[in-house]
Symmetry: C2
Amino acid sequence: MRESQTAEMRPYHHGDLRRALVDAARRILEAEGPTALSLRAVAREAGVSPAAPYHHFKDKAELLDAVAQEGWEMLDAAMGKAMAEAEAPDKLTAIGISYVCFAREHPALYRVMYDAARDKADLPEEMHDNEDSPYCKVRDTMVALGADPGDAIDLELATSAAWCAAHGLAEMAGFKQFDHLKEALGGETPFLRAIFRHMGLSPLDRRR
Amino acid sequence: MRESQTAEMRPYHHGDLRRALVDAARRILEAEGPTALSLRAVAREAGVSPAAPYHHFKDKAELLDAVAQEGWEMLDAAMGKAMAEAEAPDKLTAIGISYVCFAREHPALYRVMYDAARDKADLPEEMHDNEDSPYCKVRDTMVALGADPGDAIDLELATSAAWCAAHGLAEMAGFKQFDHLKEALGGETPFLRAIFRHMGLSPLDRRR
DNA sequence: TGTACATCAGTGAACGCGCGTTCACTGATGTAC
DNA sequence: TGTACATCAGTGAACGCGCGTTCACTGATGTAC
């Protein structure tokens, strides 16, 4: 049955099953949410036996980690793009909005990312450790907008505050409670912008 | 065995099994976290057969809702206490800190509360609908600190921003990433206070 | 006050389910000579 | 170029598990007369 259903038959060896499994996991997340994401379901979605994934991942957690990591990379790309495209005084808000929009567009993936982070009690290293990590991008934007780079502690606090605020907004922006605010302000993005303004995270706001 | 192990034998009818089940669920959450919270485990912890809970809750979700609701009531109480005890200019930060501390002290319960809220895409009604709800407490504190009560939209934005910020901080405050900041600032509470200051949520900060 | 009976709140066994993981296996591939 | 063989990456059946839920039941309680 399976082998007759398409002209290009899948060969016995897959080629890049690891890749295919991560993609399958992403598809399940988008379609059915995090609770449907079992190892068996991923194998099923990839058209492979339930034992096959074990040649590529130690266990389920390792597969989930790979999915999460890809999510962080996507988020990184979205933030980088937003930063590059925005005008200077708006850069920080633009990054924040891109963050929240990513979480809103991929809610299940975002949950997997954060659940993994929570289990480890930390964000993945790539998010804050190297020089062009998202964390450093935000921090450097703070400086570019007038934060004092000499006060290291304060700069780190400012960056951390922005990150926490974005995460909180990302998780709550979908609540129905906010529907009439979005309507009054003319849409989701103006709403996010207004909330960020109230959070007063930009050094520009703080010096005003 | 069971009946001989204690002088006061549990009678066939429990008396208040509903109460006992919610308590048992809370105990499991504290001890083993949200993943261990199954209906069967709750019944087991309460010393009752797996079918017994069905005389008090329609299904597992209804039990979880009851647990979550009790959590929101505890959170409400903590926020109310913090507000009552703080001096006027510090009231808002004090409420925020009490919120975050609650989440940090009952992380598993907080997750159950938020997961339930996320499923419904809203906070429970009691949190924002009546006049002395936590939401209204925060909003009125905003006004007392100088926010303009005439601009209803702006006031609601300010309150919502504060809530999102607190939630984000609550979820992230435990990350190891922040350990050295806490150390540099002399503890968890000064750290939280500093982050909140950077979030610039108080109307006092905003007019300065 | 006593008794018949309806109702309530438990029991314990069973249902089917999907899960993560392991195992012995086999087909395909790559390499040494 | 051909062949023997090690290695790799799959299969499919099976493991034990705990889960949510249902069922027929029974012991305890409350009520009407």
